[in-house]
């Protein structure tokens, strides 16, 4: 059985201009111990999916269709109290902009212990401290910095502290939302590698959200490419990256330099994503698509199977 199943998920935001469909009919599935990368431009709905998985949509956002099943439990149907129990113990999160994710007026140690204390009332203080120290060792942070305030940490240290925090309760699933964006390249690389090691070591499922397809391709088993609230291409990482089918994916691959991949010319993607308020009859990418045809604008595209695990949402690929 899959660790996580997202079925036909749609999420909307109420705005002054009307309902904004941030996520529209997305299907995902993740096995235990596997990692899935979600890539796309900002505003494509990837972070919204991450938040929905934690049950943390903002007050004006709501799931309008489909469901999320984690380890056999339908998360999308839980009430707030039940959700609270699931959070962190089942699904943890490594935040976008780790710099601001630590509370500046609370010591790191306290921020670490509070999660454990909340979910494990049975553990005594000593056991909790031991656990925290263990986690610090695990992510390679010096123990004497445990009781520092966040501003005394460097960016990389903060990121590690957050990773340690995410591991605190042995969650089955970790959502990593742009975990390394604000870090410099060397630290970024280090942390990504270590994350991968940890993931394999503890057999955790990871959903890796990023706008950088090259990084995702390096770290994850599978990739899902999102565009304007829809999944447009999904498949094994290497395949999606090197054998991209969807014109958007190709454009994404072309717009980032890679350290590992072959040298190629960077090509920016012209145009902007469509406004998600109101109905869009045809393909959402057609305005920016080189293969645009008349039918694209009128008919919604259908999923095409490239191979058993590689699918693409395009009628012309």
């Amino acid at each position: 059985m899959a660790l996580l199943k997202v079925e036909n998920l749609s999420i909307g935001y109420r705005t002054a201009g009307g309902m904004l469909k941030a996520v529209d009919g997305v299907n995902l599935s993740l096995e235990e111990g596997r990692s899935l990368g979600l890539v796309g431009e900002s505003g494509c709905g990837k972070t919204t999916i991450g938040m929905a998985l934690m049950g943390l949509l903002p007050p004006n956002g709501s799931i309008t269709g489909g469901r999320i099943v984690l380890d056999g439990v339908e998360i999308s149907a839980l009430d707030e109290e039940e959700l609270r129990k699931v959070r962190w113990s089942q699904v943890a999160m490594i935040f976008q902009a780790a710099m601001n994710a630590l509370n500046p007026v609370i010591r790191v140690s306290a921020q670490m212990t509070e999660a454990i204390r909340t979910h494990r009332p049975d553990m005594d203080e000593q056991a909790i401290m031991q656990r925290v120290e263990g986690l610090f060792n695990l992510v390679g942070l010096p123990l004497e910095r445990l009781h520092d305030f966040p501003h005394q940490y460097s960016g990389g240290m903060k990121q590690r502290a957050i990773i340690a925090m995410a591991l605190a309760l042995n969650p089955k699933l970790i959502i990593a939302d742009e975990p390394t964006t604000a870090l410099d390249v060397i630290v970024q690389d280090q942390i990504l590698k270590e994350t991968k090691v940890l993931q394999e070591q503890f057999d955790i499922g990871i959903i890796f959200i990023s706008h950088d397809i090259s990084i995702v391709a390096e770290v994850c088993h599978d990739i899902g490419v999102m565009y304007a609230g829809q999944l447009v291409e999904a498949g094994p990482a290497q395949e999606v990256f090197f054998n991209s089918k969807h014109p958007y994916t190709r454009a994404l691959v072309g717009s980032f330099p890679t350290l590992a991949g072959p040298k190629s010319k960077l090509t920016p993607i012209p145009g902007e994503p469509p406004n998600l308020i109101g109905a869009i009859p045809g393909c959402r990418f057609c305005d920016r698509c080189p293969k645009d045809t008349a039918s694209c604008k009128l008919e919604p595209p259908k999923w095409q199977e490239i191979n058993e695990r590689h699918w693409v949402l395009c009628d012309h690929c």
Binding site: Y13, T15, A16, G17, S42, C44, T48, P58, P59, N60
Partner: protein, 311 residues
Amino acid sequence: MSVQQATLQSLKAGRRALWRQRLAENWRVFRGNLLGKIGLSLLVMFGLMAGLSYIPPLIDPMYHPMTGVDPLVVKSTGPSLTHWLGTDFMGRDILSQLLAGARVAFMVGVSAAFMSVVLGTAVGMTAGYLGKTTDTLLMRLADMIMVLPTLLVVLMLAALFGQLSIWMIVLMIALFRWPGVSRVIRAQTLSLKQRPFIDAARVAGASHTRIIFRHIMPNVLPLAFLYMTFRVTSAIVIEAGLAFLGFGDPGTVSWGMMLQWVWKTGHMFTAPYWLLPPGICISLITLSFYMLGRAMDEVLDPRLRDETQAG
């Protein structure tokens, strides 16, 4: 026309369009704001009152707010047909006084606020832009003035130098209420100074005055304007407090003055028709400016808007 000029002109046109667009956008947000709407409608009402204040003395000299007395009335009377809100102890019409009070409140509030904001903006921009010793000196001065309780200071000056005229009071309030504005403007200027377009202007050889007036000022003005609405509130309250304590300008019919008359002549608890209107008006006008300020705060600071975008 050289290419450069053309670019410059199109840039200017673009900037104008941007301003218009921003204004329209701001107005839309403002309209959606309940506080703003209430505040604005209250203000319109007070504005009407101020405008109407010129009418009663034209109908009959006895409706002159300061000197007109009803020959038939020699003590404070309740509302009647000839005096809708009644008369004060001398037989003067309370409604005419209330209307004249609205005019004075606007005059005092807006002019004191305007002066203090102009002063505060000038000092803030100078301090922020020039930095160094100028900055230190100006900000120390601001710190010092900021800690002085304005009402007591003006009270002291009023008592020392004899009764102050209404314009002196306005000036005093302005002189003692600028530091708050200047602090905020200074911070804003400091952050603007770091922006590339200022460097670009400097490299292009723009003078300091030009940089300050062309590049920095347009960017701090909205903030200064916001502060003005809050300053209006405090100016009105200070004037009223001063008048209430008997240090106002006795030749001016302000609401604070009306309250002082009610109070000093012993009608506080026997003439509600005289006591309540000015008190309520002072509270409502401060409330309306305050609400307007809060609403503008949200308009100008997009972070305070409701989340309409998400990613």
